[in-house]
């Protein structure tokens, strides 16, 4: 699975993009976040405030209960501030 990090997610996790092998038991965005948080203090910090996490799976903005699988492109970012 390819994971992209934008804005403060990139800064706190200290990675812009990575390929990960998913451990067993990860089926949706919620469980993916739980696992990522456990990887390091930086990741834990990035994902601490769940209300401010936005997620896209294969470039579609989705909810946390969306299913994810190997081969997906998942992106984490804060609420948008364009325009």
């Amino acid at each position: 699975m390819k994971i992209l990090y934008f804005a403060h997610f990139r800064e706190k996790a200290n990675v812009a993009e990575e390929e990960v092998e998913l451990p067993d038991g990860i089926s949706d965005v919620n469980s993916l976040i739980d696992w990522l948080e456990s990887r390091s203090d930086g990741y834990a910090d990035a994902f601490a405030d769940r209300d401010h996490i936005r997620v896209a799976v294969n470039q579609e903005h989705v909810d946390f209960d969306t299913l994810v699988k190997m081969g997906d492109e998942v992106a984490f970012f804060p609420p948008m501030t364009g325009g």
Binding site: L4, A7, H8, Q59, H61, P79, M80, T81, G82, G83
Partner: protein
């Protein structure tokens, strides 16, 4: 029906003139230019980051939605990314229609949408260093008013 996501500046006047000359069904052309403003914290610059690929896809989708909801003869969205200083242009939205109300509504819809739903993130350089701009509730409310029942 044009979308451009780019780091370089644009000539808003020339772009608006092009849309305005689309065809003789055009009765009104509405445009909005977003500019980097010097705020209370006296920003020296801001940097816009985006999600390449997803940005273009979403912009095309929202432009198609605007075309469906209003009888537009033409439209244009240009959104920049990268570092910009106060006074620099960030975004341009232009809509052309037979009637002014459609042009105004579609233009405001597109910019409200860009503020809250397009994958761009701003960071500001302030006296205390660089910080990410927080999303504003007022922008969400502006975007929500266009939600279809």
């Amino acid at each position: 029906m044009t979308i451009r996501v780019q780091s370089q500046d644009f000539d808003a006047g020339a772009e608006i003139a092009k849309i305005s000359a689309t065809n003789t069904n055009v009765g009104g052309v509405c445009s909005f230019i977003g500019v980097v403003r010097e705020s209370a914290d006296t920003i020296s610059a801001m940097t816009l980051e985006h999600y390449p690929g997803m940005t273009e896809k979403l912009l095309a989708k929202i432009e198609a939605e605007a075309q469906e909801r209003w009888p537009l003869e033409d439209s244009l969205i240009i959104h920049r990314y990268g570092r910009m200083e106060p006074g620099e242009q960030i975004v341009l939205v232009v809509t052309a229609s037979a009637h002014r109300k459609a042009a105004f509504e579609a233009c405001e819809f597109l910019i409200d949408w860009l503020k809250t739903k397009a994958p761009f993130w701003k960071s500001e350089e302030t006296a205390e260093g660089t910080k990410w701009v927080e999303a504003k509730a007022s922008d969400d409310q502006a975007a929500d008013k266009w939600s279809e029942k």
